[in-house]
Symmetry: C2
């Protein structure tokens, strides 16, 4: 009980359910909605409904898409011999942003994490393997996060793919650009030395 | 451009318009909406529409209300001789929470701030004065924030009310409970000394 009228309480509750939104922030956001022009509030509500209804998963790469097959999978200008495997759609967006990569993607929808009940069969790994059945794909780049779950998932997938004669690679580890050696952790530093390049 | 599909971009934009929500947070929240069950997303959209449509202003105290006159103004158990003046409805909720105050409220809808174009006529000051026309109200407690705008507003209102023979008071200044003298700023400290009480 906080002394607000019911419709406001409901909205505060809805905002609170979002990740990283505490009670005070939820109150601030709810008041912002109450104070915004009616048209903006309606647009916001419509955007929520639309995002939920119109966004599907691409039946090929499992990335979010408005159509059955996403624009990247449909594009004739993308290199169909390379598939970059990511944990989620946000990571696809991050890689697309740098405009360096021109291959296809495959979104796993998570990382293997037995503690959290995420076993390999919960991920879109079967769908990835079925994409490798003809000889189009020459390389799979595993771009999962460099943490325990990301590593485990990368190892698991690479063991399944290698027997198919497809090259499997992993994003390079190292000191992040603009970072300082002094503050790099030991694992990062040892991997940066391990992966050193001749100049 | 961030490589997301249109419906998602729209939702991210909507979240970004909320106060204190940056791009990365907006992306996180939008993905959370996409991942939530359809029923929850619909409930969220409905809560936004409802909050906007069902919440009005109480015609007496200008606090948010579901009806023309709010529950506090209608209540027979509240002390109608005292009005507590606040900047907004959030402050009313904060005071209601402590359950110590049993009088009525008056929400100004802002604080005087000429720099931001908020002149006294933009606030619900006339409405406050009209509530003092009969002899019911004996005291007006001005509970605006202890900053420049809050002070200026309090001074402005008290000058209008005093000639009407109504007592005007202001919330006490001082060291916040649990605070430390060492870290109190000079103004707070000097006011705490000024407002000292005999024990």
């Amino acid at each position: 009980m906080s002394g607000f009228v019911q419709p406001l309480e409901h909205l505060i509750e809805c905002f609170r359910r979002l990740p990283g939104i505490g009670y005070k922030t939820a109150v601030r956001l709810a008041f912002c909605v109450v104070d915004m022009p009616a048209a903006d509030a309606e647009a916001f509500a419509t955007a929520i409904i639309n995002a939920k209804q119109k966004i599907k998963m691409c039946s090929i790469c499992q990335n979010i898409s408005e159509s059955d097959v996403c624009d990247i999978c449909l594009s004739s200008s993308r290199d169909k011999s390379t598939i970059c495997v990511t944990e989620n759609s946000k990571d696809v967006a991050a890689i697309e942003k740098i405009r360096d990569y021109n291959g296809l993607y495959h979104v796993l929808g998570g990382l293997i994490s037995p503690i959290n009940g995420i076993t390999p069969d919960k991920l879109k790994i079967k769908e990835l393997l079925s994409r490798l059945s003809d000889d189009t794909v020459k390389e799979v780049i595993i771009a999962t996060n460099p943490n325990i779950e990301g590593e485990a998932t990368a190892m698991y997938i690479s063991k399944l793919i290698k027997p198919l004669g497809v090259k499997v690679s992993r994003l390079a580890y190292g000191i992040p650009a603009g970072g300082e050696l002094e503050y790099a952790d030991e694992v990062t530093l040892s991997r940066a030395i391990e992966g050193r390049r001749e100049l």
